[in-house]
């Protein structure tokens, strides 16, 4: 092992996947040792249940958010509004299905709008939210944190206004399929996979990914090279809005309710943390969509493991805070230099 160590460390810089995968493995190892029965699986109604399925299933919304957030952070920006946009999309979907807000008929087949239209309109609204953020950042030259703070604060209010301040229960059963359905695996994971593949093809099979990284690293040099850096940022924020819309659909479908107060609350922080664990610098630049997905799984694995270990929900934030500290340490130049110095000193003859 010792002889292979320098080799592994030298790869840290090259593959963004290494660190989040190691983190995930460590968490699962912890569970293996301290949580007997953590890996127990059982079959209910022909579906597999157990923590190993729960982690990705419950992590689906964060994974969706992390995909969009990755592109925004890669341009050197940040989007604080994704949680609020989730709430907006949940409300939009709810009023499309039940315009009367408190439906008296609890008919599982009743909807005011056909499901495909519900999904399309909701995602369009969410993408428009992203467009708004993008316009403020790229064309309004407002700092991303401030620009998206506007929608973060106002968004939940908008979501409340749409549903006139009430929680709307959604009885339409096909809608619940998105967040609760199973096709061998939970349907929400197929949604994540589809968005991931779309994002991967959109960025890596075109040159959009290169442009995003270039703008994130040096937007002025990118402009001089003929890259429309404003359009690139706009696209990133729009995609982020789209992902938040998708996450809002999955989340509200899962609980069969549009809850403007709680859907997506504080999720923006988890999404940002997932991207950072995935190795994308908050200063912008190189990004890896897959590493961000694994980063989201790391966060969800921590949550699930802590619940399994009986840690109360309010103590969870302290644990996440510790994770942030570890991530900051691992990615800091000082620690890397120290590790590099240690590992290169070892094989040197004394």
């Amino acid at each position: 092992m010792a002889s292979r160590r320098p080799l592994d460390l030298s790869r840290i810089g090259e593959s963004k996947l290494l660190f989040p995968i190691v983190a995930l493995v460590l968490i699962l190892l912890f569970d293996l040792i301290f949580e007997p029965g953590f890996f127990a699986m059982e079959t209910v109604d022909g579906h597999l249940f157990g923590n190993l399925i729960d982690i990705p299933r419950n992590g689906a919304t964060i994974m969706l958010l992390a995909l969009g957030m990755t592109l925004v952070i890669a341009t050197g920006g940040i989007d604080l509004s994704v949680g609020a946009v989730m709430a907006i999309s949940a409300s939009v979907a709810a009023i499309l299905i039940h315009p009367d807000l408190q439906p008296l008929t609890r008919d599982p087949n009743a909807t005011a709008t056909p499901l495909p239209i519900v999904l399309l309109v909701t995602l369009a609204v969410a993408t428009l939210c992203g467009l708004w953020n993008g316009l403020l950042v790229a064309y309004g030259n407002i700092q991303p944190m401030v620009a998206t703070l506007i929608l973060m604060i106002a968004g939940r209010g908008i979501a409340q206004l749409l549903t006139e301040g009430v929680r709307v229960q959604i009885f339409y059963e096909p809608y619940a399929f998105l967040g609760n359905g199973w096709v061998i695996l939970p349907v929400s994971l197929f949604v994540v996979a589809a968005v991931y593949l779309g994002a991967w093809f959109g960025t890596r099979r075109t040159s959009l990914g290169l442009f995003i990284e270039s703008v994130g690293i040096n937007s002025r040099a990118s402009f001089y090279s003929g890259i429309g850096e404003k359009q690139v940022k706009l696209v990133a924020y729009m995609f982020c809005g789209f992902c938040a819309g998708m996450a809002g659909l999955v989340a509200s479908s899962n609980i069969r309710t549009s809850d403007a107060n709680n859907i997506g609350l504080d999720f923006e922080l988890d999404a940002i943390l997932a991207v950072v664990i995935g190795g994308t610098s908050l200063a912008g630049g190189r990004f890896s969509l897959m590493a961000s997905l694994v980063g989201a799984l790391v966060i969800q694995a921590i949550t699930t493991s802590m619940y399994a270990a009986g840690v109360p929900a309010n103590a969870l934030l302290a644990i996440k805070g510790t994770v942030v500290i570890i991530v900051i340490l691992v990615f800091s130049a000082q620690v890397r230099d120290w590790v590099r110095a240690r590992t290169s000193a070892r094989p040197a003859p004394t």
């Binding site: 075109t206 040159s207 002025r220 040099a221 001089y224 890259i227």
Partner: protein, 507 residues
């Protein structure tokens, strides 16, 4: 003026930034009641010297004495309390507050715990009157000209403490001729009051109008301090550029220029093109197979010309046409589509994308022209990268090396290659040889000549005159944001320097 006694003495000042020795062993002395100009090219160390003096940066070595006592300013605020005040280029005031409020901000006179407006306005008026400025101090600052705003900044500096040293950093860069004269009046008045005024500027003519002594810096070293009267303008330029006459005459020309240049088709024409506050309207014509040099001191408007021609900045007057077609879309991508390329001056800020690989940096402009949907395949990208790595002899282990790990000269070649890969008809090179070693310089110059022989049209901007002379068929000269003349064919370095300096010496 030196008989007034030395007020401020800086000795052996050293200051290093990571990778650069910004100042080494610089001495500077200032007498009470003098106007002392500090001149030098960009990066000569002018602003670092001022920052060390005002405590914005901490010196590595050396000592500073003010009025015979050793001082060490911890911060600009501390320096102000010692009597050293600075007025920066960017006026640092609140445009929506009144003139009086700006002058007395933080020290407003109070009465019964509330601001005593009457006293405040009276005092502000008095202070400004001592500068011979008679204005209504109750109006918002924004309603006044930049010159008056500058005066307000000076008045504020004078109000703060018993100012003994007033530093004006590029105060005239946004002033017109009349406003400049007004400012000079104030400076002379302060001098008469026994204040030492430090005047930093790019405009050499202004130095001769107002300064008593001149300190010249070059590459972080002191060249010398001279009484203005004993240093003709031509000598000053020579000292700034750091070249002796013997060296100048020894320019061997690579390119043979015989009076009449073979004229190719006209590619790019700028007619009365200008942008307010950036560069005065100018005409320029670039033809196929020709290198046009653009000479001038740094800050003379050369880079601004390039920015207008390439569409970084939008002109507010005149016309630009490429191959006979008037340009409407003033943007980099528009220029790239027209076959115009710009290799920018600031390699780090405007050129390289540090964390991307050599290959990615190299294909960036080509890819931008194709649009994001039509991605070059990995194989095509590698073919382009390998081709240019070979042709320009870029020293890199592979095309997958992050460009930031390359040396400056090789980074410069990568940027050049980025533009050559777009196969431009017009190539604008802004300081393409800055900060690279002699060998690489010669290579870049050779490359420019080859391109011209291949029918391309080049605009070669450089502060190194021998380089311009060596490569150019025609040479345009910039001075104080204005194109002052254009030499066709044979011309020697000293006559260009005369024009760069502006007329005939300082008397």
């Amino acid at each position: 003026m030196s008989d007034a006694g030395t007020l401020l003495e800086m000795q052996g000042i050293d200051k290093a930034f990571p990778g650069v020795q910004a100042l080494s062993g610089v001495d500077f002395s200032l007498a009470a009641g003098e106007i002392h100009a500090i001149v030098g090219e960009n990066g000569a160390g002018k602003s670092t010297l001022i920052k060390v003096l005002t405590g914005a940066e901490h010196r590595d070595a050396g000592r500073i004495e003010l009025g015979g006592q050793e001082i060490s300013a911890r911060s600009p605020q501390h320096a102000e309390s010692l009597g050293i005040a600075t007025v920066y280029q960017e006026v640092n005031l609140c445009p929506n507050l009144s003139l009086a409020e700006n002058v007395l901000i933080g020290r407003a006179p109070r009465r019964w715990g509330r601001i005593d407006w009457r006293t405040m306005n009276r005092r502000a008026t008095e202070i400004l009157l001592t500068l011979d400025i008679d204005v209504d101090v109750t109006q918002p600052l924004a309603t006044y000209s930049v010159a008056i705003q500058q005066m307000a900044a000076i008045a504020r500096a004078l109000e703060i403490a018993s100012v003994r040293v007033l530093i004006l950093d590029e105060p005239t860069s946004s002033l017109d001729a009349h406003e400049t004269e007004q400012l000079f009046g104030v400076m002379r008045k302060l001098r008469a009051d026994g204040i030492a005024v430090v005047f930093i500027t790019h405009f050499l003519e202004q130095v001769y109008v107002v300064a008593d002594r001149i300190t010249v810096l070059r590459h972080g070293r002191l060249v010398g301090t001279y009484p203005t009267a004993s240093l003709p303008k031509y000598e000053l330029v020579k000292k700034m550029l750091g070249r002796e006459l013997t060296e100048l005459d020894d320019v061997s020309r690579i390119r043979t220029v015989g009076g009449a240049v073979e004229v190719g088709t006209t590619r790019l024409v700028a007619d009365d093109l200008g942008r307010t506050g950036s560069v005065e309207p100018f005409d320029i014509e670039l033809r196929a197979g020709e290198v046009v040099g653009l000479a001038g001191l740094l800050g003379s408007g050369r880079t601004e010309v390039a920015a207008l021609l390439f569409g970084i900045d939008r002109p507010d007057g005149g016309t630009l046409s490429v191959d006979g077609v008037p340009v409407k879309d003033h943007s980099p991508i528009g220029s790239i589509r027209r076959g115009v390329a710009l290799c920018p001056e600031d390699r780090k800020a405007e050129g390289i994308v540090e964390d991307l690989t050599v290959r990615e940096n190299l294909i960036l402009a080509v890819q931008a022209r194709r649009g994001w949907l039509r991605r070059l395949s990995r194989r095509q990208q590698e073919a382009i990268a390998d081709d240019y790595i070979r042709r320009l002899d870029i020293a890199t282990p592979s095309s997958e090396q992050p460009v930031r790990t390359l040396s400056g000269g090789n980074q410069q070649k990568v940027i050049l290659a980025r533009w050559l890969a777009t196969d431009p008809e017009v190539l604008i090179l802004d300081e393409p040889t800055r900060g690279i070693d002699i060998g690489a310089k010669a290579e870049v110059q050779r490359l420019v000549l080859e391109l011209a022989e291949g029918g391309k049209s080049c605009l070669f901007i450089s502060s190194e005159l021998d380089e311009v002379l060596r490569t150019s068929d025609r040479i345009a000269v910039m001075r104080d944001r204005e194109k002052v003349t254009e030499f066709a064919g044979d011309v020697d370095e000293s006559s260009i320097m005369q024009v760069m300096a502006g007329g005939d010496g300082g008397e």
